[in-house]
Symmetry: C2
Subunit: 115 residues, 2 copies
Amino acid sequence: MVERLSHLDAVFGSLSDPTRRDILKRVSRKSMTVGEIATQYPLTFAAIAKHLNVLHRAKLISKERRGREQVVSIAPDTLLAASRYLETYQQLWEHRLDSLARFLKTTSTNSKGSR
Amino acid sequence: MVERLSHLDAVFGSLSDPTRRDILKRVSRKSMTVGEIATQYPLTFAAIAKHLNVLHRAKLISKERRGREQVVSIAPDTLLAASRYLETYQQLWEHRLDSLARFLKTTSTNSKGSR
DNA sequence: CTATTATTCAACCATATGGTTGAACGATTG
DNA sequence: CAATCGTTCAACCATATGGTTGAATAATAG
């Protein structure tokens, strides 16, 4: 099921860093080991490991040990939840705009161009 | 069109705080003054003003002076951009899952009636 | 002009974050 | 077992963040 809502802190916090978004992009195309990921950036191995921890705590990725390597994969459900969250806002303001449109329509037929 | 990509840092960073998400929720229903918003939280006026600044820099809200008050409204386009961004990830992994499904299908027809 | 209301700015504090280096751990290879 | 490869952990540093209080500004009311 969808996690407690405060989980969104971690999800959006993770997404606020460009390196982490880039890691997520790469991993969403193809699962990669921690080492493979680390070579793609001008940062230390440890820095990348930290970013992966952040993504893991937010449940945006999953890790699976394969021999001595650790394979990182994307965790689609969490992204879906975040996306759904933003959609609710869209619905809210779309509803508002609709209401405004209706309001303008009814008042313009009613009023004599006041204000 | 859609803002420079580093803008996403600010957008997701803004969304990572529960107070700011709540402000956004309230404002998405109805435009409010800074003062009205501030009374809704157990924080100082200044703290709320800071949160509004963060949201404003991320272009998630807009402010408009009305007399001595400042009216805060939601800025739908930015939310839409963030939502679209997450959707591209969904598409990426959906594509991956589709590919996997096709792969499994073709390999099973190749083999001798497995399953 | 003065007072009042609404908001912003500035200085400060505590904690979180993103980065580093170097040591430690876990699994495989010889 | 020892050596090695891949990864994690710990300590540390600089800067960012979220909060406070108190002073300063902006617009209206008297």
